[in-house]
């Protein structure tokens, strides 16, 4: 919309003429709100699909022995569940939230490059198509784990190539999207909004976007090397030709660890937005939050080899990665204590977004602690590739990232739709999700400690009870998300009229525009006090 804002249209005339309708409104949209909406729906679709894969996984693991699937197909399920949840569900959801909220929060009329914004979204569709259809090519989908380790990924069939291209496309989409977000944040802020006055969500996204443009190309390089090893006779990862499969793990995790912070930093931003609203106090330690986020981002580039403690490396290297990993808990701890201090003596109320936020602070910290346990070298050697690791990363990715996204959606949806969501159903969704999540994943700590390996469709009898509990929890967790879909649709269709401020304790530019937010906002920059 950069050109339309340049010309001095009368606002009313513009609204009635320039508003495209029908399908083309979405296909050709350059409006940050429309694109944000599309990102969120895309993400939710992928979330349900990859969640469906998880249901199949848990169905197979309901009892020991092979009931439904052969191991080859089971491995495809776990691999695609991971790939789609990460690249199809969590990351696009955050980009969708950024699209909606960043321009509103900084008082910009739109993103810096609206057409690129449209491109970043539509690139997701062919990538998702490649991933989803890879189930139907000869040999089935990728089955070597979401990390695409060689030699399996060098030997695999056509689906590996499809996944590599999907990763390339997703990488371009993320990089273009991130450049757009950084440029928007740096150049389009309303006058008077200095960097240190920006809302925390904007700050965390700024840092996340930097992580994305530094880390995603490394992954693109890694999968390109895989591709040339597969088809063009290179030997990057082929030991027979002087290469080394472990090299891939180094390149992959050099991307992969920043990637896990890409998936959690915006969640931190959402928490830092929700908690002050419902504690009715300003965020405690704003500046320290900014520095802690930056510190986490910088440290994320020097801890990658803690994913590979068992691949063999000199003790000095192992110790370095162990200590640098432990170091991350310091800035993360700063953030957790800042949230607690924000809640301290606040006049708290527990609407659905706040319930999600408080639960995330608690559950993410559990995931953080189990991460700290895994960072201890001798313990990690015991726990590598067990269900303990599965429990750990679901505590940080589901009850960290995904539940923060849900909280964020409940928090902002009145602004998007103009209606309040059904508070009672929202709370039911929250409690079902939280309880089912813990029933699913808490027992995995125990099965993992007892030595149950991940990515295996069968297990020893001794794990039967805990796995049955996990599976029952997972089915409940999956079903509860349909309730979420219902609440969102109900909120779009109608509900109590939302005020401009929506929440009593909400502050910031996005709450000064009407609800629902009009198609164009802040065409003349707001004035900050």
């Amino acid at each position: 919309m950069s050109t339309t804002t340049a010309t001095h249209h009368d606002d009313h005339a513009h609204d009635s003429h320039g508003h495209p309708t029908g399908l083309m409104r979405w296909v050709k949209s350059t409006n940050h709100k429309d694109i944000g909406t599309m990102y969120l729906w895309f993400s939710f679709t992928m979330f349900l699909f990859a969640g469906g894969l998880a249901m199949l996984i848990r169905a197979e693991l309901f009892q020991p022995g092979l009931q439904f699937f052969q191991p080859e197909f089971f491995n495809q399920l776990t691999t695609l569940h991971g790939l789609i949840m990460i690249f199809g569900a969590i990351m696009p959801a955050f980009v969708g939230l950024a699209n909606w909220q960043v321009p509103l929060m900084i008082g910009a009329p739109d993103m810096a490059f609206p057409r690129l914004n449209n491109m970043s979204f539509w690139l997701l569709i062919p990538a998702a198509f490649l991933l989803l259809t890879s189930f139907f090519v000869p040999g089935g989908a990728v089955a070597g784990g979401w990390t695409l380790y060689p030699p399996l990924s060098v030997q695999g069939g056509m689906s590996v190539d499809m996944t590599i291209f999907a990763v390339h496309i997703l990488g371009i989409s993320s990089i273009v999207g991130s450049i757009n977000i950084i440029t928007t944040i740096f150049n389009m802020r309303a006058p008077g909004m200095t960097l240190m006055k920006m809302p925390m969500f904007v700050w965390t996204w700024l840092i996340t976007a930097y992580l994305l443009i530094a880390a995603m190309p490394v992954l693109a390089g890694a999968v390109t090397m895989l591709l040339t090893d597969r088809h063009f006779g290179t030997h990057f990862f082929n030991a027979a030709g002087g290469g080394d499969p472990v090299l891939f793990q180094h390149v992959f995790w050099f991307f992969g660890h920043p990637e896990v912070y890409i998936m959690i930093l915006p969640a931190f931003g959402i928490l830092s937005t929700i908690i002050p609203t419902f504690a009715r106090k300003p965020l405690f330690g704003y500046a320290s939050m900014v520095y802690a986020t930056t510190a986490i981002a910088v440290l994320s580039f020097v801890v990658w080899a803690h994913h590979m403690f068992t691949t063999g490396m000199p003790v000095a290297g192992q110790l370095f990665f162990m200590y640098s990993t432990m170091l991350i808990s310091i800035p993360t701890g700063v953030k957790v204590f800042n949230w607690l201090a924000t809640m301290w003596k606040g006049s708290m109320t527990f609407e659905t977004p706040m319930l999600f936020a408080v639960a995330v602070v608690f559950l993410f910290t559990i995931g953080g602690f189990s991460g700290l346990v895994c960072s201890i070298l001798p313990v990690d050697i015991q726990l590598q590739d067990t269900y303990y690791v599965v429990a750990h990363f679901h505590y940080v990715l589901f009850s960290g990232a995904a539940m923060a996204i849900m909280g964020g959606i409940y928090y902002w949806i009145p602004k998007w739709t103009g209606h309040m969501y059904d508070e009672k159903l929202g709370k039911v969704h929250f409690w079902l999700t939280t309880i089912a999540f813990n029933v699913t994943f808490f027992p995995m700590h125990f099965t993992g400690l007892a030595g149950m390996p991940r990515r295996i469709p069968d297990y020893a009898q001794q794990f039967a009870e805990f796995n049955m509990i996990s599976s029952l929890g997972a089915f409940a967790l999956g079903l509860s998300q349909l309730l979420f879909l219902y609440v969102v649709i109900k909120c779009i269709r109608g509900g109590a009229k939302a005020t401009n401020q929506v929440w009593e304790g909400a502050h910031g530019l996005e709450w000064t525009v009407p609800s629902p937010a009009p198609f164009h906002t802040f065409e003349t920059p707001p004035v900050l006090k």
């Binding site: 030997q155 069939g157 389009m188 995603m216 992954l219 090893d229 006779g233 027979a240 180094h250």
Partner: protein
């Protein structure tokens, strides 16, 4: 706020600068490969320190006061129809002492095959101190169907091997020496064969 055209120009400039970061990231992704090779040689990562011939060192002192057990092992990788094993599974040697041993390989396939042996040494650190003067792994080996070959390895352990290392394992993985694209086809054939069974 500045005039909109000025902002558009600023946006463009910043976007190009940011894409430089992305481009540098891509280059770095590829650069990790040679960097890793250098690190492996320097710090004996993965026991990969030495896969080339070392010249015979006449000034070498044999440390008669110390014994090191060298264990030999070897295996063939999928795609190569050979049987392959060391002639002796272990030897006790003095550091600095030049020792000759051998491995035996037999081609059980119906056609002649090209094999490449990739050595590795454990503990990894010992790879820096394990020197090969002669080894069948220095060049590719071709075996005719049914051919049996005894292949020599001449090595010594450097006397400055850290004193806490008492046992060194030398391991070879024999790969099919075909280009990897052909090999991928071979793996798939193998897969189909197992499925038919």
């Amino acid at each position: 706020m500045k005039p909109i055209l000025e902002i558009a120009a600023l946006n463009k400039r910043l976007a190009w600068r940011l894409s430089l970061i992305a481009f540098a990231g891509l280059l770095f992704g590829f650069a990790i490969s040679p960097i890793y090779d250098v690190m492996c040689k320097k710090f004996a990562l993965n026991g990969r320190a030495d896969s080339s011939a070392t010249a015979f060192d006449k000034t070498l002192k044999i440390d008669k006061s110390r014994w090191v057990t060298v264990i030999f092992t070897g295996n063939t990788m999928p795609g190569l129809g050979w049987s392959f094993h060391p002639s002796q599974t272990s030897l006790r040697v003095h550091p600095g002492e030049i020792t000759l041993t051998s491995y035996e390989a037999k081609n059980n396939a119906l056609e002649s095959e090209l094999g490449v042996a990739v050595p590795s040494v454990t503990p990894e650190l010992a790879a820096l101190y394990f020197k090969k003067i002669e080894c069948f792994c220095f060049k590719q080996q071709t075996l005719k169907p049914g051919e049996n070959r005894k292949m020599p390895v001449m090595f010594y352990v450097k006397p400055d091997l850290p004193s806490n290392v008492h046992t060194v394992t030398l391991s070879y993985a024999f790969y099919n020496g075909l280009p990897s694209a052909d090999k991928a086809a071979l793996y798939q054939q193998g897969d189909n064969a197992t499925k038919l069974n």
